[in-house]
Amino acid sequence: MKILIIDDEKPARDLVINFLEATDGIEELHEATNGFEGLKLINTVKPDLVLLDIQMPKLTGFEMLELIENPPAIIFCTAYDEFAIKAFEKNAIDYLLKPFSKARLLEALDKVTRNKDVKPKQIDSINLGQPLERIVVKNNKSIEIIPIDEIDYLMSQDDYVEIHRNGKKYLKLQRLKYYESALNENLFVRVHRQYIVNVKQITKLDKLGKESYIAQLKNGDSITISAAGYLRLKQVLDM
């Protein structure tokens, strides 16, 4: 088994390496000190299992996972995170609360071995109980971190969400429904089955049909607003 450890604290990595060095069945042990390095190693090393910390600089463990299309088996390692624990229970093979014992780590590894025929599924994005401050996307080869107030609007495209920002668009494998609840609801409104708009970007509303409207945005784009969307928008804008 090839294992990758991603953690920004050296003592934490040292401990896991120490626990695993003498364990049978482990062919390779790799370590990464942050999410970017981790992504690179996942692509080059192709680990069977990733031991993943959540709180890391620039890119959290969750955000890193969103950027991988066919993730390896994941075991989360974290010190304390009440929302994350809920999320692990739904998504990951196992999660380890730091500090953990060698026996506990081996038990988690055992679970991975037993489940090795089960194809690891795409891990759902996790709503952390407070509105998102940023969205991480892959843009060609590079990774871009988009602060949410720079987003003009989001548009659903089959299995993807198209994020529009300053005339550029980024694709993200995600459902629009997720962003409806994860983004600050006073700034982002689901105005249509297909759109979530940043209300600060709206310059003008034109009546389109009997109950639908068209919103003109600062960047020149215009998007359709449904009757239900118009009601939600009215509520947020306090019209």
Binding site: D8, E9, K10, P11, A12, D14, L15, N18, T33, N34, F36, Q55, P57, K58, T60, E63, A79, Y80, D81, L97, K98, P99, L128, Q130, E133, R134, I145, P147
Partner: protein, 349 residues
Amino acid sequence: MQNPITKNVQYLVLYFTFWLVIAGIQLVVFFFLLDLPIVASIIDALVFNTFLAIICIAIWPLVNYSSLDRAALVNTLATHLAGASVLISIVVFITWKALEVLITNNPSYDTFLQESLLWRAALGAIFYLLIALNFYVLIYNEEFRVRNIAESDLKQSLKDAELNMLKSQLNPHFIFNSLNSISSLTITNPEKAQEMVISLSEFLRYSIKPNQEKLIPLNNELEAINRFIEIEKVRFGERLKVDITCQTGCGAKYVPPLIIQPLVENAIKYGVHETMDVGSVIIACTCQKNSLEIMVTNSYDAQGVPATKSGIGLKNVSNRLHLLYGSEDLLQINKTDSIFSVKLTLPQL
């Protein structure tokens, strides 16, 4: 409530002095205006007013047990009417009988005494009213005072509760990650593990100390901050650079406990946790005779977007300072492209 007149000797003396003055006035009126003999005037004034004085003490229980509440007003009026009638009758009657015995062989005084009973009763009624009102004012004042004390007690305990809530709370991430580092060091470097256990224990002891609102010398706070930094240095290694400079003499100045530590924690969080290369934190203390300034500065990546909203720690510190010193501008934030700094100004009393 106890009878205010008999509560202590001072009040009692004051009360009888009042009656002595009244007796004096009566004497002047009797002797100079009514042309009564001097001896009779003196005896009359003394006897009548002594009885009045003594009997008026008995107004207190009547006042104390009948309130001025609107609902009980009729009852209260009835009580006082009955009370006044009985008390005044007694005074007038015993004054009359006593003076008859004490002043003899003076036919003009005898006539005067007979005729005086009515105005003595009227005078008694007036004094009754005055003293009863006085008692009510006293009761009202006392209630007001007690209510004020209760209210300020309540305010104080609300403030205490608020301060308790704002008091720097131990960050569970910090505790469990530190324990994880210790777990690692026990294998790779047991000696260092032991050092870290001690640092962590000292820091925890400082953090959970009761009486968080008692001011402590800056040196103690800096010591705890040093423990905190030592632990963070084990976790983040070369990524964390800290520089502490303290002007001589500032160490003995007083600060609220755990008021600077959250700023350092915040600086490390945004200056170091959120950056992939080296982050530096500078702590500088300067002081004057009656103020202490502490500046905590950290480098940060202006392009970066923190995963979560910041500033709760700073808001807590600011609120705590406001509650403790009653001033709003003791915490100032300064932000440039790459530097974030917080300045605390702590008044020294």
